[in-house]
Structures are given as C-alpha cells and as structure tokens.
C-alpha cells in the first residue's frame, strides 16, 4: 500500500510546492512591489475594459431573450407612474384653483374645497416613490452585470448566458476572492506591524516621513485587495495641512480610497476588536483623532479637539464625512454643521462609484461588516472616480448651515449626484414634527394672506 501512494505523494507535493511558489512570486511582483512604489502595470484597467464588453453582450442577450419569450422586462427608472413636478405649495394650490370652471379672476377666495387635492396628491406620490428611502438601499441598475445580487429579471434565457454567469462565479469565488483575502490580510498586517515599529521612533521629520510612506503603501495594498480602479481628478486641489477634507459617504471603503492617494488624520470612535487594534497602532505613528464612546456625545469637546488639531500646522488634514451615515451614492444628504463651524479651509472631495462592477454601498441594516467585505471582495471590481474640488472657506456673515449647504451643492454637482436637504439620520429616526408644522404654517399663510388682501382693498 505504501509503495502505491509514495510516488504520487511526492509528485503531489512537488506540484503543490511549485504552484505555491509561482503564486507568491506573481503576487509579489505584480501586486505588492508596485503598491510599495505607487506604480501600476495597467492590468486592472485592461480587466475593466474586458468586463464592460462582456456586460454589454450579456444585457443585449437578456433583452433579446425577454422579447422572444414575451416577458416584460423590469426597468427601474422607466414607466413613471405619477408625473411629478417640483413646485411650491402656494403655486400648486393656485393652479388647482385657477383651473376651476366657474371662477372669475378677480375674486381670490380664501379656501377652496379643491385645495385638498394638493395634499392628497403629494401624499400618494410619496407613497409611490419618495426621494428619501430609496437612498438607503442599493441603487438599481439598468444593465445586468452577471451578478445575481443585482438582477431582477433573472430567468433562464439562454445556455450561453448561464455558462458565462457560471464562469464568472467560478472566477470570482475561486480565483479572485482568495487572492483578495490574502492581500487584505497582508495589507492590514503590515499596517499594524509597521506603524507599531514606527511608533518607537522619536517624534521628528524622519518619523513623519516614514509614517507617510508606510500608510500609503499599506492602503495601496488594500486598494489592490479590493481590485479598486480609481481615477483621481484635479490633484492640484489635494487637501493640505491644517485643513479639513469633507467627502460624501457611501461605505467604509471611502477611507481606503482617499487615504491611498494622500495622508489624512482620521476622525472616529474607538471600536473594540480588530478595528480597535488597527486604530490604536495607527495613532502611534501619526496623530489621528479617536474618541471614546462617551466623548462623542459632547459636541463642544469634539469641536475643541478638532480645532486644536487643525491649528497645529504640522499635523495632517482631517478627513470627515459630514453626512454621518452611509448613503447609496445616488445623492448627497444633509451635511451636519459641526465640522463647518471650525473656521478653517474646507477641501471638498466628491466620490462617485460606478455601480456596474460592484455595489459599494454598505447597507448596515442588512449586512454586517464582515458580510459586507466579503461581498465587496467577490464582486468584479470597485470602480470609482474621485474629484478634488477647489478649497472653500466660510464667508463673512455666513452661518455654518449655509456654508455646509454650499459645500454640499458643489460636491453634488461635481459627482453628478442629487442634492437633497433630507437628513441621512432618517435612515433610523423619524422626521421631526416641525416639518409637518411647517406645511401647516405655509397653508395657513395662504388662507389668511388672501383675507388680509381683501380687507385692505
């Protein structure tokens, strides 16, 4: 029995050894070394182009197949059921009244029974499709990207398509996922190890330089761990020391994307577990601003620590996400005014993900962190564009809320996102009653206003 297995055993061992060596070498040469030096072979871009061609073909096949079988295709944005127009309460009610049959133009009546149409229509419109809740779930795609998670029309259409999908599955889970997981562990491990080492050095120029290099290198490895293909625009506007960098928030990956191109001081709450270990070792190498859970509630304390940090010009620019929560990258929601009260230059950054290759949005009510990362690593790639916008500062006599909205509008415009006034916190909380009272006030003004006009004339 032993003779029978021995030669095969040896052969197997040799084969395994060789493939392992080849694997590690190619990993090193093609991925880790370029990450250290910040260069790129362009492999990822080639991959992206190939994938796009495949997706186009897949969508065409899907549409053709659907037509042949007479199945209605579900298209998320067409077939608008209710035609919405953005007008104010007063305009709309006047419109409704004006088109009444027996009205003469002079008598402005105070109340019409038809006024109720405005509220009823608005109510039903919101029930049908509202602007807010659709920002808290993944964006729906027009074309199919061979991932069942983003497919709403999936039925058996053709053998070729299914084979392609199966092949894609194999590649993503069998080849790409293990590769990415290895890289991720390497990146994070190196980060923790090297920053702890650097922490032993005395404070000075060398320490800052080394810490910069180490941070950049590890983040670049993490970028490759996600196969993130990032295009940076307008790098001349990159944030400088003593400033605050604000960006729209889609997922925790935003941090990795921004930090692989520049060095920032992070702001956040100290977590336990692995995150906590990473946070604690990072702060040894360069000053980040981490808060204990109890300190987060104290707004003055937070503001003071942030101002102290920006006043010190040797420290890195702070990275903040003023929305406070993850939004699905189709819109920008209300910016919390805290970071805009500090009174220093603000560097806005717009991040827009291309949803065709993988959905980067973290729906924290649906997936936990680990689940989310696994989904990220098993999609095709993360493709995004980063725009560095020119710096803005608060003008004379401008209050923080107004400034925040100005910055938000600039980010929304550049990223091609919808600019909303709604608070991202509505993901979990209810609307304040003041909104309803606002509507009531507006309507009453209409009724009373006309009364005053009449009594005056």
């Amino acid at each position: 029995m032993e003779f029978f297995f021995n030669p095969f055993d040896n052969l197997l061992c040799i084969l395994l050894g060789i493939s392992f060596t080849v694997w590690i070498t190619s990993l090193l040469v093609f991925i880790i070394v370029p990450a250290i030096f910040g260069v790129s072979f362009g492999i990822r871009r080639l991959y992206m182009k190939t994938l796009l061609k495949v997706f186009e073909w897949a969508t065409v096949r899907l549409e053709r197949g659907a037509k042949e079988n007479n199945h209605p295709l579900y298209k998320p944005y067409s077939n608008a059921i209710i035609a919405k127009e953005p007008t104010s309460l007063e305009e709309e009610i006047k419109e409704i009244r004006r088109s009444g049959s027996n009205k003469d133009l002079d008598s402005a009546s105070e109340f019409e029974m038809s006024d109720i149409f405005y509220f009823a229509r608005r109510g039903v419109e919101s029930i049908m499709d509202d602007e807010v809740t659709k920002r808290f779930s993944a964006e729906e795609l027009e074309s199919w990207n061979l991932l069942t998670r983003s497919n709403y029309n999936f039925q058996y259409i053709s053998l070729r398509l299914t084979v392609l999908w199966g092949l894609g599955l194999l590649i993503r889970y069998g080849l790409l996922l293990p590769l990415r997981v290895t890289l991720a562990f390497t990146g994070v491990g190196l980060l923790v190890f090297l920053t702890s080492l650097i922490g032993l050095l005395p404070n000075g120029r060398i320490k800052n330089l080394l810490s910069e290099k180490v941070h950049l290198m590890c983040y670049r490895i993490c970028v490759r761990a996600l196969t993130a293909i990032i295009t940076y625009h307008d790098s001349e506007n990159k944030p400088k020391n003593g400033g605050i960098c604000v960006a729209n928030h889609t997922s925790p990956i935003d941090v990795i994307i921004l930090a692989s191109d520049g060095c920032y001081a992070m702001v956040g709450q100290i977590h336990g577990g692995l995150m906590g270990v990473i946070q604690r070792s990072m702060v040894k190498a360069c000053p980040h601003v981490w808060f204990e859970r109890s300190e987060v509630k104290d707004r003055h304390l937070v503001a003071k620590r942030l101002s102290d940090h920006v006043d010190d010009k040797t420290k890195l620019p702070i990275l903040i996400f003023p929305e406070g929560t993850c939004i699905n990258n189709t819109s920008v929601m209300m910016f919390k005014k805290g970071s805009f009260e500090i009174g220093t230059t603000v560097y806005p950054v717009a991040i827009k993900y291309d949803p065709r290759f993988g959905d980067a949005f973290w729906n924290s009510s649906k997936f936990g962190m680990v689940n989310y990362l696994l989904r990220m690593m098993s999609s095709w790639a993360i493709v995004c564009s980063v725009w560095y916008l020119p710096p803005m500062s608060r003008e004379e006599g401008e209050d923080a809320v107004h400034f925040a909205n100005r910055v938000k509008a600039a980010i929304a415009r550049q990223g091609g996102l919808v600019d909303l006034l709604w608070d991202g916190g509505l993901k979990r909380d209810k609307v304040k009653d003041t909104f309803k009272e606002e509507q009531q006030k507006l309507y009453s003004k209409m009724l009373v206003g006309t009364q005053e006009d009449r009594s005056r004339s």
């Binding site: 209605p72 149409f117 039903v124 209810k430 309507y443």
Partner: protein, 178 residues
Amino acid sequence: TGPRCPTTRRSRELQIWVKPNCFLALVTLPFVSEVRRLDKRFKKLDLDDSGELSVKEFMSLPELQQNPLVQRVIDIFDKDGNGEVDFSEFIEGVLQFSVKGTKEQRLHFAFRIYDLDNDGFISNGELFLTLKTMVGKNLEDVQLQQLVDKTILSADTDRDGRVSFQEFCKVSQTNGVL
C-alpha cells in the same frame, strides 16, 4: 358597473390576488409592469413582511410624515377598514392617482378625505375638522369656523346644510390639472 373580472387572477410572476369588481381586469402588457413595480414598492414598505401595510410602516416615509393629511389618506386606502392596507387596496388606491386613473376617481378620493364618517355627505363639523388638520395651530378656531361656514354656504345648493358628492364635484371642477 365596469367589466367583471374573475374572482382571483394569478399571474405566474406577479402572484396578485385581486378582488372582484375592480378595474384591474383591463390588464395590458405595459400595465403589468406598473403593477410589478408597485409590488416591489409594497414589499419594500412592508417592513415586517406581514403582507399588509400598517400605519406605522407608512409613517416610515419621511416625506409622508410631513403631510398633515396622511392619516386620512391611509384610511381611504384601507377599504375594508381593518386598519391595514393589503396589496389590492394598495394598488387600487395608488392607481387612482396615476395617469391611468379617471378624474371621477380622484374627485371621489378627495371627497372621502372630507367625509370622515363616510355617509356620503360633508357636514359642517367634518369640514371644520379636516381644515383644522391642514392648518394646525396657525389659525384661530373662530376664523376657521367662518371659512367653513362661508364655504358650505356657497357650495350647498340644495340647502340641506351639508355638501353632497354632486355639489362637491361642481364646486371643485378642475380641468386637467389632476
């Protein structure tokens, strides 16, 4: 009145159970995709997967919470009065306001908002209460009562002290805005 449709109609993909005497019998291909979209929306709103929408689930929509008449709108959707809106009630309610709904349906919907006890007439008290929800604390009760009295006076052509559906339609005849 209107075409009769079979008691239940089940589509392979859509799984809608539809009550009799409803206008959904006029199903055509583009219409099916609208219903499918509504189905998706319904499932999204149904947070506890109970198959029916409660008031609480409607109230999870921020834009609806700021509408002072939201409770009345939901009450009208809830045809059988069990406090929850099931899928066929949902479809019927929403489609009345869509491009597929008729002016008559919309007028009826608006009338129902005023007619709190659903007796087919809008009384002085009902109009007052509805107006009160629309303006909140911003107008005095006395002012409000004056408006109500004036409105009923001008709308009530048969002088019975309340507004019937026909009188309502005449008063709020709008051309094409709905």
